[in-house]
């Protein structure tokens, strides 16, 4: 009876793994849906493609941590398994009531603490400082990203590199989604698009706004994520690597309502020529405010 039930368990485990595997394989063949654009980059069960100059720092920290975690877990698990087997209850065996003095555990705990300190002060804090305050000075592109339920608006300052003023009262979802003011000279050459275009190899400063609720600007291939908080303009920056031209995904990472799941946009990393062509296209009069 007992042996039989163990066999059933094993069969179930096996079946489950097979089930899991086949469904994994099957799904990878399915093409991305309805973006209209073919998305570049490689995606799978680990970190996706990285096209930003600083993204490796995030990846490195994640990788180092996981190696550490797996090492700790395996070592710890081996000891655990050893105890389970060696000290199982059986006739003639009695627990050793003399408490062992486990010095190694103390060293292990101290080692863990030291390692965490190294990760914190060696990896995390400096990188965070760089990401948060060392804004690029090499003439970055400037774009303003305005989130709303359930779309991303990309506001470009145009040739004068100055953003025009925004006024919420004159917002018109079709003609003027951001409430740009006509009488503001700085805003004369601005344009707004539902697509995000940046130039490869050039740093970009993005100012993130939200009109209604909290969203989160997430570009997986850039290792960039920043909440868009209404009532705040939060700048972030990144720089794409050379030779990364292509189309990538932008997602919303913060629950923002019914269509949160579909609040996507496409980031086009352009060569300078492609970019110029695109700007020309969007600023051509009739198309100006068309979205989507």
């Amino acid at each position: 009876m007992r042996r039989c039930s163990w066999r059933i368990f094993l069969a179930v485990v096996f079946g489950c793994v097979v089930l899991g595997q086949t469904s994994v394989l099957r799904a990878q063949a399915v093409a991305p849906k309805d973006t209209g654009v073919k998305i570049d980059g490689e995606y799978g069960p680990f970190l996706p493609t990285d096209i930003s100059v600083d993204g490796y720092q995030v990846d490195r920290l994640i990788n180092v941590l996981h190696v550490f975690m797996i090492g700790l877990f395996v070592g710890w698990g081996l000891f655990f398994a050893f105890c389970l087997v060696k000290y199982r209850q059986r006739p003639g065996h009695r627990a050793n009531s003399v408490l062992i003095k486990a010095k190694p555990s103390k060293y292990l705990e101290i080692a863990v603490a030291i390692f965490e300190a190294v990760l914190l002060f060696g990896f995390s804090i400096p990188v965070w400082a760089r990401v948060k305050s060392e804004f690029p000075t090499d003439d970055p592109m400037r774009v303003r990203v305005v989130a709303e339920q359930f779309a991303w608006n990309f506001h470009y300052p145009g040739a004068d590199k100055k953003f025009g003023k925004l006024n919420p009262k004159i917002i018109d979802l079709v003609k003027n989604p951001l409430g740009r003011m006509d009488d503001d000279p700085a805003g004369k050459d601005d344009f707004v698009s539902g697509e995000f275009h940046v130039i490869e190899g050039r740093s970009v400063v993005v100012e993130i706004l939200s009109k209604d609720v909290i969203h989160s600007f997430f570009v997986p291939v850039l290792r960039v994520k920043q909440d868009a908080i209404p009532g705040m303009r939060i700048p972030i920056w990144f720089k794409t690597k050379e030779k990364t031209a292509g189309a990538y995904e932008i997602g919303c990472a913060q629950l923002c309502g019914n269509n949160h799941f579909s609040m996507r946009a496409v980031m086009h990393v352009d060569t300078p020529e492609q970019y110029a062509a695109w700007v020309k296209k969007v600023t051509a009069p009739p198309e100006e405010f068309k979205e989507d």
Binding site: P45, E116, L119, D212
Partner: protein
């Protein structure tokens, strides 16, 4: 047993003189005995059954959601056609997905696990373990159960009001949770329900602390307390001091929704192109601070009593004293204290400056150390033991590596830089489910199997229990392990359909695997449910100490009568004196006088 409660009232101090308690009393009516009982054991069982129902319900919501995740927009088999008003066309609309998700989180945390760990196990076991006749304030105890019950009913009712249940996640971030005002009542009901639940927890925690401080048996010093009691003690302080800020936040959000104030609303909110009438001047991040000021301590409320139960079960089934008991106690106190100053690690991505991020990352790293210490102590206890692999022990043992996976994956989330990529992805979902599901839920199962004979006088079936364990262990991992890979791939949480994203589509197979894991996990609970109800009436009868344990609850009859102990217990030794040399039996109960060596 009969009892009188005529003199009470007001503040819930209870006090009554009993002449010859025990015999010769008229029986109380059914209502007073089982429904509005003030006996901590009955209240514990009420909490336990209610919480199990909520756990089951919360899990069912999630099993339905997992269909939408695995097979987006396909009609849900059976359920879809049973509830056409919930699932138009048999499939799950995104707003329904959001509602179910928010309610799953809320129900699991506030209506399932906390009432189970604190309300049920805390209430039932803790007074027995300290040798008390009851809780310090029995009427207050009854009240906290009924307030909890009202909170639960409010939450459940919110599924049926206009606009359906709350849809802003269990975190209810403003402004999303506020702007739904005109057409959604669910969020308001959620807030009112939370106020009930918070009140209930506050009453409970006051009662727990007072009981532990005042009613310990003679000779039971603080450092002779079972670890479980310590865990309850620290947990109660977390509930006592962390919940009120959420109550405050809840009141503010209610005002925003009902009275049109702008506590969390900045100026110039534009929804669908329409300027809103809020005056503005509020701050959405204020809600997050107040919420996480509770919710981080809350997650330790979810784990500390679980650790306590596991420690009890491990000590009893290794036939050994817990290794490093004192260190564990200091660790858990430290853990409780630190849990108040890490809350903003949930907010790294909100636009936080360097100093603040560094501070909260540091405290987060520090708080992981006491967890490591406690876990390590429990594992070292296994060394040199004589391990009995009974069902409670299996669950307790499984708790250790599962919690380790959950805890370790908290580290990348605690460092702001790695959190950039991982925040709000399935990695977070994986992290905390490993701590709460194979962690806490397993500890709950372990506790049920372990204390069931105390509460009913009957044993649960061992074979069914083992089937339950093995299946649950396998499938809970099938359900949650894929989430880490989904998270690394960049799939955000709370997506009703991830296949629109290329990175989501690439790991859709993992999603399906996870769903199958969850459904099989659901099936794996069948042996448990059968076992639970059948054993209640037909289980093998056992004596008062079937596990041959040392702590006080095992010296009371099974089930313990009103007043708990046949004679007032006196404690002579520490909680885990197993295998004491010179003693014939391999355990030496706390209440037994006798040779100290």
């Amino acid at each position: 047993m009969a009892q009188h409660q005529h003199k009470g009232g007001g503040h819930g101090h209870d006090h009554h003189h009993h002449d010859d308690h025990g015999a010769g009393h008229h029986e109380l009516s059914y209502w007073r005995k089982y429904i509005f009982s003030v006996d901590h054991k009955i209240i514990g069982i009420q909490y336990g059954l209610t919480a199990l129902c909520f756990l089951f319900f919360g899990f069912s919501l999630m099993m339905i959601m997992r269909w939408q995740l695995a097979y987006p927009n396909k009609p849900i088999p059976v359920i879809g056609s049973l509830f056409p008003s919930f699932f138009p066309g048999g499939a799950m609309a995104p707003e329904m997905y959001n509602a179910f998700g928010a309610m799953h989180g809320t129900i699991m945390v506030f209506l399932g696990v906390v009432p189970m760990l604190v309300g049920a196990f805390g209430n039932y076991v803790m007074p027995l373990q300290i040798g008390a006749p009851d809780m310090a304030f029995p009427k207050l105890n009854m009240m906290s159960y009924w307030v909890y019950f009202c909170g639960g009913v409010t939450m459940l009712a919110s599924f049926f009001v206009k606009g359906g249940a709350a849809q802003s996640g269990w975190t209810s971030y403003a402004p999303l949770s506020v702007i739904t005002q005109p057409h959604q009542w669910g969020q308001t009901m959620w807030l009112i329900g939370m106020v009930f639940l918070i009140t209930s927890s506050l009453l409970g925690s006051i009662n727990f602390i007072t009981t532990i401080v005042q009613l310990r048996a003679k000779g039971l010093t603080m450092f002779r307390l079972p670890f479980f009691v310590w865990a309850q003690f620290v947990t109660s302080f977390l509930l006592l001091l962390a919940f009120p800020p959420l109550e405050a936040a809840g009141i503010l959000q209610l005002m925003d929704r009902v009275a049109g104030t702008s506590f969390f609303m900045p100026e110039g909110l534009v929804v669908s192109g329409q300027m809103q009438s809020y005056t503005g001047g509020g701050n959405p991040l204020l809600w997050q601070h107040l919420f996480w000021f509770l919710a981080h301590p809350e997650v330790y409320v979810l784990i500390l009593p679980a650790m306590g139960m596991v420690a009890e079960i491990i000590a009893s089934n290794t036939r050994k004293a817990l290794w490093g008991y004192r260190t564990m106690v200091y660790s858990i106190i430290f853990l409780g204290f630190m849990s108040f100053i890490v809350w903003a690690h949930h907010m790294f991505i909100t636009g936080m400056g360097q100093k603040m991020a560094a501070f909260f990352a540091t405290t987060t790293m520090i708080i992981s150390i006491p967890s490591v210490v406690i876990l390590t102590a429990m594992v070292i206890t296994l060394h040199g033991a004589s391990i009995r692999f009974n069902v409670p022990m299996l669950f307790a043992l499984a708790f250790l590596p599962m919690f380790a996976i959950g805890g370790l994956t908290g580290l990348p989330l605690g460092l702001p830089v790695s959190d950039i990529q991982l925040h709000d992805t399935y990695y977070v979902i994986g992290h905390f489910h490993y701590v709460v599901a194979p962690g806490t839920i397993f500890a709950i199962f372990a506790g049920i199997y372990f204390w069931f004979p105390k509460a009913t006088g009957r044993m649960m079936n061992e074979a069914l229990g083992k089937v339950h364990f093995v299946l649950s262990f396998i499938f809970i991992n099938v359900a949650f392990m894929p989430m880490f890979f989904q998270g690394l791939a960049g799939v955000s949480r709370r997506l009703a359909d991830q296949t629109g994203y290329a990175h989501g589509n690439a790991v859709q197979g993992l999603t399906r695997m996870s769903s199958w894991g969850a459904w099989m996990l659901g099936l794996s609970q069948v042996p448990f449910i059968i076992n639970f109800f059948v054993s209640m009436f037909a289980g093998r009868k056992v004596s008062e100490n079937p596990w041959e344990s040392t702590t006080l609850e095992w010296s009371a009859p099974s089930p313990p009568p009103h007043g708990n102990f046949k004679s007032t217990p006196v404690v002579h030794r520490g909680p885990y004196e197993y295998g004491v040399p010179g003693i014939a039996k391999d355990y030496f109960p706390q209440h037994q006088a006798g040779a100290e060596a």
